[in-house]
């Protein structure tokens, strides 16, 4: 299948996602330049991490008005699979494809480390190869991953099962102690109501090969492949 990876000025995990798609999964990766609206017939879009537009104004705020983002929104509306990683997640929030917003980490600093995530929803096209309640080890690397939203939105996404992964202990305990950035309800990743758009702060592409210390992220990409092939 064909994965599309938008490249904004300042994207810096685009090649990493491309590497996993091509070298680990053995599928095709197509880079989509931010100034173009053509998605080149891709089956799925992965918005990579980085610092699009240098995070100027607000992380993801400039990228939402790029032509390629417009095309991605249309693609998502038609039911296309869109996953946003880190800055990609921030862009999806800014673009309104996912609810809520990001605050600076509670530490007020950038944090790069492996964290544990509890899989809360294993019914999405991005996570169906995981088990509900399973704990996975995937790194984070961000300065603004402190997820927030109004109480009514929080209630809604919790009730709809839109919270896909949460920060937890290695044993799956979800508490403030294991919340690296201050995120509401330890939220690490959410999907839209329809389930075809998913954003998360952790980097599954950094945990997709044994040599990198974890392969827990690989099943997200494999889940996408299976979902697309099945459909």
């Amino acid at each position: 299948m064909k994965f599309g990876i938008p490249v904004y000025p300042g994207s810096n995990c685009d090649r990493d996602v491309g590497w996993v798609v091509e070298k680990v999964l053995g599928h095709e990766a197509v880079y989509l330049w931010h100034a173009e609206k053509d998605l080149k017939g891709v089956d799925c879009v992965i918005v990579p991490g980085g610092f699009s537009y240098g995070d100027y104004l607000r992380a993801g705020a400039m990228a939402k008005i790029s032509p390629v983002t417009e095309a991605i929104c249309e693609f998502a509306e038609k039911g296309g699979l869109v996953m946003g990683i880190c800055n990609g997640f921030q862009i999806l929030l800014e673009a309104g494809l996912l609810p809520g917003a990001m605050l600076p980490n509670k530490t007020l600093s950038f944090i790069c480390k492996f964290v544990h995530l509890k899989v809360e929803n294993d019914q999405t096209p991005f996570t169906h190869l995981y088990r509900k309640g399973e704990v996975v080890r995937i790194p984070i690397a961000h300065a603004e991953g402190n997820y927030t939203c109004p109480p009514e939105t929080l209630k809604e996404i919790e009730e709809n099962g839109q919270v896909v992964v949460r920060y937890s202990s290695p044993e799956g305990e979800v508490s403030e102690e294991f919340n690296p950035n201050g995120s509401l309800n330890n939220i690490a990743g959410i999907c839209n109501k329809r389930g075809n758009v998913f954003g998360l702060m952790p980097h599954p592409e950094r945990a997709s090969e044994t040599i990198l210390g974890s392969v827990d992220g690989l099943r997200m990409f494999q889940s996408i492949v299976e979902s697309v092939v099945r459909a």
């Binding site: 810096n12 990493d16 610092f51 690397a141």
Partner: protein, 741 residues
């Protein structure tokens, strides 16, 4: 010209030389250009004669010193090379820690990608004063967040480094930034201008008034705190612009037509144009009114000396300029033809049609003054020789000493720092920070590279010659402990004023030591920089930094799957010490803890043995004989064992029987020692392996339980719960910085 104006730029003697070279008086623009090109920072006028001692060649060296970065071969089959360099950004980082450090990272990255290499790793070697000083806490936090801000945004992982805290850095902290990139041998770009009539293109950020005379500033001592406050001309970095510049340059290099490319670093447009012309043996004409400026009313003088960041100068084949400039425009960058290459080797500057400077390239480069500065043995060296370590009383409570050492900021975990750096982006990092060396895979080759930055400046202070040797040896040893063959080094020589004969003596001796070590260990110097004048005038005289020749060693792992880490792996494994204990505490962290200063004659090293040890450890790792390897350094054997125990919270029981005073044995920092662990069933095989290679190897204990226990001649001296020691080690730095409890 007014003598005062002249002496703000160059010395009176240098001015006479300029007049002689030109056959006339220079104008102010020309004088500014001379002052930058003849500054210590650009001309190496005090260090050049001594740098010639360094070996610079080996079969694997593709590019030695003289270019923007050094290059070595990693994989012959795919012709994959790595380009790297370390450079200082000391003065700006004290004046404005955040931007000073950030632009240090930016500058070194440009040195690497200007050669066509995609940057894949950064490292930083940092030296701060004691943290009881609020200013130092501010500087430390500022430097770390500046590095984090810049490196993370450009998407190049900061994979490690080193940090020391000593009072000699109180008003002169050191920030040495290292970067490394990957390049195919046939895709290397050089900064040699050529081809008469070829256009000179300016790309990147616009020129502002920031950093004017930065190179000159880096070539003077701080005369007082007030002066530091006044010199607020530190450059401001924009990592987003740098990221665009990296991508645009690498994309433009894929096109045909780029002849030469060079970043505008210290002394900006002046040094980039002059150096490109000098290397190519040609001249350059620049039309300064065409330079994109950020501010109105900038003068030719300001334009030539601005150190605005994220700018490059490109020479391309005539007729190809539009195609090349289109790439930069695609990335949203300014790209303008501002001049051309000429045959006559001069730098000719126009301003709205009028010549404002015309200088022979040779006068600016080859004719720059060289100083054979006098040197003499400092008094403190002679006094220190009289020091008798036995005057130190033996501690009553060894547990207390171990806890204190583990919480010393120099030894304590630097996790608080490296967790603020994205050390994983580009998914090449396969040994994360916290081990002896960082290891990165080189995609598409099966190979890896190991990088370690080291310099114990305390040893260099007490004995610059041995200290210089040790800086090289330790960096190489750390690389070897990760399973890689040390291949080359880059260095950043941080010293006080070369005009002081005692400082000059430190410089001469330290570089002698480094040169000897590089020869024996077969790690030539491929790039580097010199930073003098790291000193401040105080009421009591002057305070210079310890001689700090930072060394970054790069090694190659034939098979990246066989990389090694520095922590214990399994309960029951046997602990083996390689090398000999001698119980030397001179210059040690223990000595600092007990007497608050560094005395004696420092550490010494036998380079022949070091070479044997490093070859043996690399072979042992490649053969899969050992399960961890950790070099003994600050804090000695006791700290070494605890450091290895933390990752998996595995205890150890060690029993030593050397006939050495217990505290000297546990905390001495004698060189050429490595602690390894071995599966119980392979102990005899391993001991035999090292014996055959004439490396002393001795079983000293076992990995067992949850406590760190050290006995000496039957007496239990240390017994601490590993979990407790780890807590101390992991939280100490944050506490010192006032960020926790």
């Amino acid at each position: 010209m007014d003598r005062r104006v002249i002496e703000q730029h160059v010395t009176w003697e240098e001015y006479q030389k300029i007049v002689e070279l030109l056959g006339r008086e220079p104008n102010l623009v020309e004088l500014g250009i001379f002052s930058a090109m003849w500054s210590e920072h650009c001309s190496y006028k005090s260090s050049r004669p001594h740098l010639k001692k360094f070996p610079t060649e080996a079969p694997w060296v593709v590019q030695g010193p003289g270019e923007n970065a050094g290059i070595i071969m990693v994989d012959e089959e795919t012709e994959t090379c790595v380009a790297f360099k370390v450079e200082s950004h000391n003065h700006p980082s004290y004046i404005e820690p955040f931007n000073g450090a950030a632009t240090g990272v930016g500058g070194i990255l440009r040195d690497v990608f200007t050669m066509g290499a995609r940057p894949i790793a950064c490292m930083d070697s940092l030296r701060f004063g004691e943290l009881h000083d609020p200013k130092m806490r501010y500087v430390t936090k500022g430097v770390v967040s500046g590095i984090s801000h810049y490196g993370n945004c450009v998407g190049v992982p900061t994979v490690g480094g080193e940090v020391y805290f000593d009072s000699c850095y109180q008003t002169n902290p050191l920030v040495n930034a290292f970067a490394l990139g990957v390049v195919k041998k046939d895709k290397i770009f050089y900064a040699r201008a050529a081809g008469v009539g070829n256009p000179v293109i300016y790309v990147g950020a616009k020129t502002g008034r920031d950093g004017i005379h930065g190179a000159t500033m880096a070539s003077e001592e701080f005369s007082s705190e007030e002066e530091v406050e006044k010199k607020v001309n530190v450059q401001v970095g924009d990592p987003f612009m740098e990221k665009l510049l990296i991508e645009a340059c690498l994309e433009a290099m894929e096109k045909e037509g780029i002849v030469a490319i060079q970043d505008m670093g210290a002394a900006g447009l002046t040094s980039s144009s002059v150096e490109m012309a000098s290397r190519g043996g040609v001249g350059v004409v620049l039309y300064l009114d065409k330079v994109p400026t950020r501010e109105e009313g900038m003068t030719p003088y300001e334009i030539m000396l601005s150190e605005s960041q994220e700018r490059m100068l490109v020479v391309c084949e005539k007729g190809k300029e539009e195609e090349i400039m289109d790439v930069f425009r695609k990335w949203g960058l300014d790209a303008t033809v501002i001049g051309e290459v000429i045959e006559e080797p001069v730098l000719k500057l126009f301003w709205h049609g009028e010549v404002v400077a015309e200088l022979p390239i040779k006068a600016l480069t080859d004719e720059a003054p060289v100083y054979y500065r006098p040197f003499r043995v400092p008094k403190y060296i002679l006094e220190n020789k009289k020091y008798d370590p036995n005057t130190l009383p033996e501690p009553e409570d060894y547990n207390k000493v171990v806890r204190k050492l583990l919480s010393s900021p120099t030894i304590a975990s630097k996790r608080w720092i490296w967790e603020q750096y994205d050390h994983m982006v580009q998914i090449n990092t396969v040994v994360y920070p916290g081990s002896d060396a960082a290891v990165l895979r080189i995609k598409g080759t099966g190979k890896g590279i190991a990088i370690s930055s080291d310099c114990n400046s305390r040893y260099c202070y007490l004995n610059p010659y041995e200290g210089g040797k040790i800086a090289v040896a330790e960096a190489a040893r750390n690389v070897a402990c990760s399973g890689a063959v040390p291949r080359a080094i880059t260095d950043c020589l941080n010293f006080g004023s070369p005009e002081d004969p005692e400082i000059m003596w430190q410089f001469v001796k330290a570089t002698d030591g480094m040169a000897d070590a590089c020869k024996v260990l077969e790690t030539p110097v491929v790039s580097g920089n010199v930073s003098f004048y790291n000193e401040t005038k105080t009421d009591e005289g002057k305070r210079a930094v310890f001689p700090t020749p930072t060394v970054v060693c790069v090694g190659v792992l034939e098979n990246v799957e066989k990389r090694m880490t520095s922590f214990f792996k399994d309960e029951g494994d046997v602990i083996v010490l390689l090398g000999e204990n001698t119980g030397n505490i001179s210059g040690s962290e223990y000595q600092k803890l007990q007497i608050g200063e560094f005395r004696g004659t420092g550490q010494t090293i036998d380079l022949r043995f070091e070479k044997t040890l490093q070859e043996a450890i690399v072979e042992a790792i490649q053969r899969g004989l050992i399960k961890h390897a950790h070099d003994v350094s600050e804090g000695g054997l006791a700290v070494n064992l605890f450091e290895s125990s933390f990752e998996k919270e595995l205890g150890f029981e060690v029993e030593l029987d050397d006939n050495i005073r217990s505290d000297f044995l546990l905390f001495g920092e004698d060189q050429s020692r490595i602690v390894v662990s071995v599966s119980p069933e392979r102990v005899d095989e391993v001991l035999d392996f090292f014996e055959k290679r004439t490396v002393p190897a001795k079983v000293i204990g076992k990995i067992r339980g949850d406590r760190g226990v050290i006995k000496h001649r039957g007496k239990e001296l240390v017994n601490i719960l590993v979990k407790e020691a780890k807590e101390i080690y992991e939280t100490a730095l944050e506490k010192e910085l006032g960020l926790q409890g």
